[in-house]
Symmetry: C2
Subunit: 313 residues, 2 copies
Amino acid sequence: MSSTTVGDLTELEQARLDFQQQLLAAGLLIETAVPGLYGRSGEFEDIVDGIDRVVVAAGPGAAATRLRFPPVFPRTSFERTDYIASFPHLTGAVTTFAGTNAEHAELLAARARGEAWDSWLEPADTVLVSAACHPAYARYTGTLRDGGELLDVYGYCFRHEPAVDPARMQAFRMHEFVCLGTADAAEQHRDSWIGRGLDVLDSLGLDATAVPANDPFFGRAGRMLAANQRHENLKTELTVRLYGDLDEGTAVVSCNCHRDHFGDTFGITTADGEVAHSACVGFGMERIALAMLRTHGTAVDTWPTSVRNRMFP
Amino acid sequence: MSSTTVGDLTELEQARLDFQQQLLAAGLLIETAVPGLYGRSGEFEDIVDGIDRVVVAAGPGAAATRLRFPPVFPRTSFERTDYIASFPHLTGAVTTFAGTNAEHAELLAARARGEAWDSWLEPADTVLVSAACHPAYARYTGTLRDGGELLDVYGYCFRHEPAVDPARMQAFRMHEFVCLGTADAAEQHRDSWIGRGLDVLDSLGLDATAVPANDPFFGRAGRMLAANQRHENLKTELTVRLYGDLDEGTAVVSCNCHRDHFGDTFGITTADGEVAHSACVGFGMERIALAMLRTHGTAVDTWPTSVRNRMFP
């Protein structure tokens, strides 16, 4: 189906473009000069906040430590995630100007000539956050308390992937519940959140499916990593069909076993002295909002009463 | 006073360090490897959200268009703000990897040798947001409707300025009310928000003062820009003394006349065909939270009842 073309676009591309244009026309998203980067209207934010109330109500509540991080985090922590090895193409590193008056004058002269001025910048000590949980691990370097840690993390993430599909944004929010502890505890956390995540989506009136998945690892070596991740059943995505049968559906929630990856690279051990395992469930807030707009329509006041009552009690 | 030293630190430096350590010990802020970059506890976020309720209650409500932007915005818009000319040292530009498999292998080999790998990155089309209102202007290129626009913008800002003082963060939130319209309307917006801002701070139990101010323009040429800004009375800051008489106080709210700067660079005109003027009031959410923690103490349940009732109705 998806190879059928309408003009120069496939049906799928046309469906994505139509949805994007519909959201812009409704004023829910605000176009910018960069593909995949949008402003949000107050109404769109209300939808996201309403979804978050439902997510939080299904979450661990006071059993979890709430942590919030800015959209940038230390380069030293970014290094430990190994993200630059697996997803260099999605990375956003930060540069700044740290030169002299004379060098600034050179920068401005180049800019006045219409030339690029980035060569006068140098790496800053921060990188954009790619997954909401990444800035959290550095805090737990050392030995975990008995029973491990349960974290509630919510924040903006950046991934450099320009796209027309409004469900593929360069900047979006992810609400995560993260388990740090034994291998068993981490695996159980991931497994339990497949069902709990489906319940959350069902209560929002979304028809979601749990499917085995893999991350978009970069390049040739990445294809093997992706195959392994699938083979070892480390990632389950909860998908909703935004574009009918034109594609396999859009992942709106992701349930992940990290095994001992972060425990190892951040030097985190359990109370028993083992390298800590971790797992997380991540709710893609913009994607859930888009799935709801696609499912229930762009007029929120016509959404099912039961759904609105949960979101806006 | 501020030149008196305790050990190697001035009294002011010591007071800032003590406050930072107090916030970290209380678990309100979470230390990272980067000076001026902090995680926030759930309790700190509750304080910020409580302050925001008071700010919003004093704001224009439905008279304003609510816009929310991610923490990065298009480089083309950043160029139009002229920020790189005035504040290059605070800028955060984004770079990413867009190379081949072979180039990624080179990057990883350099990284494995402990070398820098930034030279394999290239500029992305985004820049970190420096002031919450900056991403908003591009939307209004063209002719404003009669009466202009009143905007409510809230988001994370980035400024590369590593510091021990917890009130000088590299990433922080700013809630702005922005007027786009005639010179008179803009000036009146700014002027009215000096009093309204002081009222907000007073209702939070803060002892604030309105003072003429200037932005930290870069370099030798910047000193003249700063002097002009002060001379022409374009910036008024509402300051609270976090460190007694050791310094002049910390700006927690900023009321700014931009004159026709953004109207000119973004090509915005009024319904009458004049270049649009703009003005904004920006509430520094983390700074107000810190001023409250400094004024009322770190135990929120002991804060004045009237203040808590406003924040957590």
